[in-house]
Symmetry: C2
Subunit: 355 residues, 2 copies
Amino acid sequence: MASIFVNTPKNANKIMTTLKDLSKHLGLSVTQVSRALNDHSDVSEGTKERVRQAAFDLNYQPNLMARRLVTGRSGIVGFLQPRIPSPAESAFFTNFLSGLSENFVKFDRQFMLHMADRSADELEAYDRLVRTRSIDGFVVTEPEYDDKRVNFLRKKKIPFVLHGQTMDVPDYPFFDIDNVAVGYDLTKMLLDKGHKRILFINGAQTASYAQRRVIGYQKALKEAGIKFDPKMMVRCNMVAESGLLETVRVFQQEGEKPTAIIAGNTRISSGVFTALAAIGLSVPDDVSLVAHDDQLPAYSATESPRLVSGTSSPLSASWGPLAENLSRFLDGAELSDVQTIEPHTFVDHRSIRHI
Amino acid sequence: MASIFVNTPKNANKIMTTLKDLSKHLGLSVTQVSRALNDHSDVSEGTKERVRQAAFDLNYQPNLMARRLVTGRSGIVGFLQPRIPSPAESAFFTNFLSGLSENFVKFDRQFMLHMADRSADELEAYDRLVRTRSIDGFVVTEPEYDDKRVNFLRKKKIPFVLHGQTMDVPDYPFFDIDNVAVGYDLTKMLLDKGHKRILFINGAQTASYAQRRVIGYQKALKEAGIKFDPKMMVRCNMVAESGLLETVRVFQQEGEKPTAIIAGNTRISSGVFTALAAIGLSVPDDVSLVAHDDQLPAYSATESPRLVSGTSSPLSASWGPLAENLSRFLDGAELSDVQTIEPHTFVDHRSIRHI
DNA sequence: TAGCCTAACCGAAACGTTTCGGTGAATTTT
DNA sequence: AAAATTCACCGAAACGTTTCGGTTAGGCTA
């Protein structure tokens, strides 16, 4: 091997300063040097300072592999991505990755992206990464109603933080907004203005958050004494095209039309806008419209959606708490300290009419 | 700590099967078990098979931390991203990350994305990651003409693979297309059809690949006995807006106009198309146009660029070779075996006129 | 003054691998 | 039949940390 690089075990170690080197240089035991650097209690302040100075002078960098071997922790957390995101999802995905990567370093952890091979079993990958002690825990996003990943990780007792919640009592760290409340609040905003036929264009059947919003929607209706009409609940992907399509479909069919619409997010609401304009209806004069705004990054620079009233909570505010909750959980924090529900805010853009 | 999870050093190890367990179970030494699993030569075939079976039965997973400590290798490679990509860049960035992540697993390596904190020194981050032995080597992309990262890594003898090349003799692994040839070939295509005033809308001043294309451009001109005119070489970002702007600028100024244009990529060429249409010129009747096509993912689903003649080489074909070259280099391969220049192809879309 | 406490330190073991330098037995060569 | 070689195996050291269970010296209390 004619390499000019020195990164082979033998000579690399010659270059590196170890605890033993420091210990020799200072006339202290390796034990005491280690304890000094880790700021343990039974080291005098003077010694600590001397050790720190020597470590700096000799450019000491701890060998993380050795530390990891003895502590049994890799200091690495991961995210498994089973497929390549579409171009449309990419802006969000990039934001997500950047956010996690940036935030995990704040907790002295490294973030590893793992694109699972399509052919291999996704669940097996989680298990393997943990069993080889490569990864301490995972970030899991977009939980489904009965999510196989979450079930698996819980059963195998593999640490993870969930972006969202399951429908049962969560015995794992998570970060979420109160989607029951979002569903309730959006519905209530319309009920309070006298609306009775309220169409909910909601996220996919399988999505856990969409399921929770249904609960809030139904609760608000029940409180107002209105019977739930299944025709007023449509489930679809959260994209503008779906909002458009579903609006047209509902307004084309026989029977009483809704006087108000709840859009699952602002992508859907912009599709609704387009559809209503095409039908010849205006907001809020003919139809009232509310939405939950995740404050997603724009698809393109030219995109400037119509604003609607509703609830709002920036999805990009999730990355910090997700990193924090997983890190602190791995460090042994109480479960209740690493389960966060972020409150949402309300926005008013005059898209609701009193009837 | 009331955690239900078991991933703490003490009890986790109880669960894990180690080489010692296998050795006891089989009545062999730890040495021989290790050698059997690593398929070394002085283990009988029968023993190897017995060991493999036992490893499978007891669900043995090697502790990578221990292996890494003794081998001095982390098995992890990384990419440092100093800033969050813009939404427009995201589709490409996602493609890039997926490609690397997917390909590195083929070489038994894990890929780590590291978004460097803006405030911290980017170069220092490379050094720290290697000195703590967290990362074996890096992928470096978009080298500048005199790239500070590359200079630093070469000086510090930190392994990396470069997507592109420096201007001097490369003493590092890389994957690149022959950009001198791209510049030459695109120019020659036009010269052969009688063009003499050829505008080159090229990538940024600082970009190494753009510099190499200039060399090819000048070489072709020289061979044709045409003097290089600096006004015929403009440098800009590789986006449609720049192509539009620069085309308008050149065609507005005094003096002889170009009869042909070379666009650095197809984004630029689509800007050129727009500009020429606005000016009232058509391709190829009034102006000939060639471009190098990187086959980038579309900005949006609706984008359908006009096709032009020129050279072509899919950027997405780079991720595999980049992963392979870095991996093999880390495994001790000869430098010449991990320096790849991918040939490009030619495409004809009738955008050149004979004059 | 004997006993106890505390501060500051240290030796050795442990984590789970890989690998160096053997060893004895069977087989082949001389 | 002696010498050399090969085969299959093993003990022990090493990688660089952390941590357990001491030990000493000095000051304090009884």
